[in-house]
């Protein structure tokens, strides 16, 4: 095993950026350094992609207050968004609220933010979580901040389409995750061992494509410079080279 020429964050960002190809507009929530990196990378490679990063003045055009992101999503003007969770289950339900019983939690997290809404309205929601362990990827979340699936009759133009972790990339369709590729030395078996829920997979899957030279240039140039201004702590460790 050789040292990879890129960090795990760079690999995740390049995978997430590829999922944005051909889109018109991606939005990134506050406190989302990895998605911001991915969106900036995608924007660097495709100038026709509009990148909105909440909390970053240079990458935000909204002029109608805090509600505009949500109205804009409901208008169908945002093609992709990123969500994460303190727990994510096999039905793509995400939990951002707490562990244990809601009334008497054993751990409490910040809250659901816009997830319960944006998950339903933005066509391509990309789930991400670098830590890929059974405590994150659980059979069933303790609290559903936002539901991964909905009955067919419910209005739901959006929903989860992909999951990118520190170990692998999944697609989500028809209510199930399917393993698409594994990063570096991971295998189907090692990913399965790290995942608390069942998922579809062939016996072997390809290795995730490494960041290309062009991607690494854009990552370590434009994207890093921009991310540094918003997330100095993250930028200090996430980029190689």
């Amino acid at each position: 095993m050789s040292m990879p020429a890129y960090t795990n964050e760079e690999l995740m960002a390049s995978v997430m950026a590829r999922l944005l190809r051909g889109l018109r507009h991606v939005a990134v929530g506050a406190l989302s350094p990895l998605p911001a990196t991915a969106a900036l990378l995608a924007g660097a490679l495709d100038p026709s992609l509009r990148v909105t990063i909440l909390g970053a003045r240079a990458h935000q055009c909204f002029t109608d207050g805090g509600r505009e992101l949500f109205d804009c999503a409901a208008q169908g003007r945002i093609d992709a968004f990123f969500l994460s969770g303190v727990q994510i289950d096999g039905n793509a339900n995400i939990n951002l609220v707490g562990l244990g019983d809601y009334a008497h939690p054993v751990r409490r997290f910040p809250g659901s933010f816009g997830s319960a809404y944006l998950y339903h309205l933005i066509p391509k929601v990309i789930l991400f979580r670098q830590e890929h362990t059974p405590r994150i990827f659980v059979p069933k979340v303790d609290f559903i901040s936002a539901a991964g699936t909905s009955p067919a009759h419910e209005y739901r133009p959006g929903g989860p389409r992909h999951l990118v972790t520190g170990r692998a990339e999944f697609a989500f369709a028809e209510g199930r995750f399917q393993l698409v590729s594994v990063h570096g030395d991971e295998t189907v078996a090692s990913v399965r061992a790290a995942t608390g829920f069942d998922f579809l997979s062939p016996e072997t899957v390809p290795m995730t494509s490494a960041p290309s030279a062009a991607e690494l240039v854009a990552l370590r140039g434009y994207a890093r410079t921009q991310v540094q201004e918003i997330y100095p702590a993250f930028a200090a460790h996430a980029f190689g080279g």
Partner: protein
């Protein structure tokens, strides 16, 4: 309609115990000088409505025992992680948490702004938020067929409290693109604002500035409070992040928080 106060103790004196108080997030105009005055006068039983999320201000008020209820889509210290006094209070069961989602808080305020009892909102279905928020209803969309939709009841705060760059002598307040502050002012029964500066020229007389101005009609109390967001930075991100980092490390324990608080109140 705006009254100018001469000192911040008088300004906060008319905010009663138990008030339903709307506050903006840390990156908007947080009235921390006013918050300090509220803690100093030992205000109790606040119902905080975070528009739509809370940070340092709410955590300090919770830690100081001023808060009965927090209504928020989320609360944290930005990159500096969980809000420690909030977390401790929820685990101890000492505050009531009304979990929400960002657009529901905006929608509830818009309903109050329009004087209507509720606003419908897409999404949310299937979330446990509907279970813990029985005040949110689901009806079948009267314009659709078998089309459930959530209704968010109006949120009408007693007082909107925030910090802004500038007021004029007529009581108008400029907030620029921070339109959520205008929404808060429209939706709330009263609006209290601390400002960096007070100018003589009427903000509404300048077509550019007028577009970002809350008219005095909606403003009840103004306090000139330069640095009113300290220790957070007002358009000064370095100071902002440093204060959050400092607070985040101290407030992990009751004792550490009390140290921070004593220093801040001194």
């Amino acid at each position: 309609m705006s009254t100018f106060f001469a000192d911040i103790e008088a300004f906060v004196a008319t905010i009663p115990d138990g008030a339903k108080l709307a506050i903006p997030p840390d990156y908007s105009g947080v009235a921390l000088a006013a918050t300090r005055a509220l803690v100093r006068r030992n205000i109790r039983g606040l119902h905080l409505i975070a528009v739509p999320q809370a940070g340092l201000q709410a955590d300090v008020l919770i830690g100081a025992g001023c808060v009965a209820t927090l209504e928020a889509a989320g609360i944290n210290l930005g990159e500096y992680g969980l809000a420690p006094r909030f977390t401790a209070a929820v685990l101890a069961g000492s505050i009531v948490m009304r979990d929400a989602t960002c657009p529901a808080i905006h929608a509830g305020l818009q309903a109050a702004e329009k004087g209507i009892p509720f606003l419908p909102l897409r999404g949310i279905l299937g979330s446990d938020l509907l279970r813990v928020r029985p005040d949110w209803r689901v009806i079948d969309n009267p314009f659709g067929i078998n089309d459930p939709i959530v209704l968010i009841p109006a949120i009408r705060p007693d007082i909107a409290l925030f910090h802004a760059r500038v007021a004029d002598r007529h009581g108008n307040v400029w907030v620029g693109v921070r339109r959520e502050l205008m929404l808060m002012a429209h939706a709330s029964a009263k609006t209290y604002v601390t400002v960096e500066t007070v100018q003589t020229d009427n903000l509404l007389a300048d077509p550019a500035l007028a577009a970002g101005t809350i008219p005095a009609l909606y403003i009840d109390a103004i306090q000139h409070a330069p640095g009113g967001m300290r220790p957070l930075g007002f358009e000064d991100e370095t100071a902002h992040y440093a204060s959050l980092a400092n607070y985040a490390s101290l407030a992990q324990t009751d004792a550490g928080f009390m140290d921070w608080l004593r220093t801040w109140l001194a």
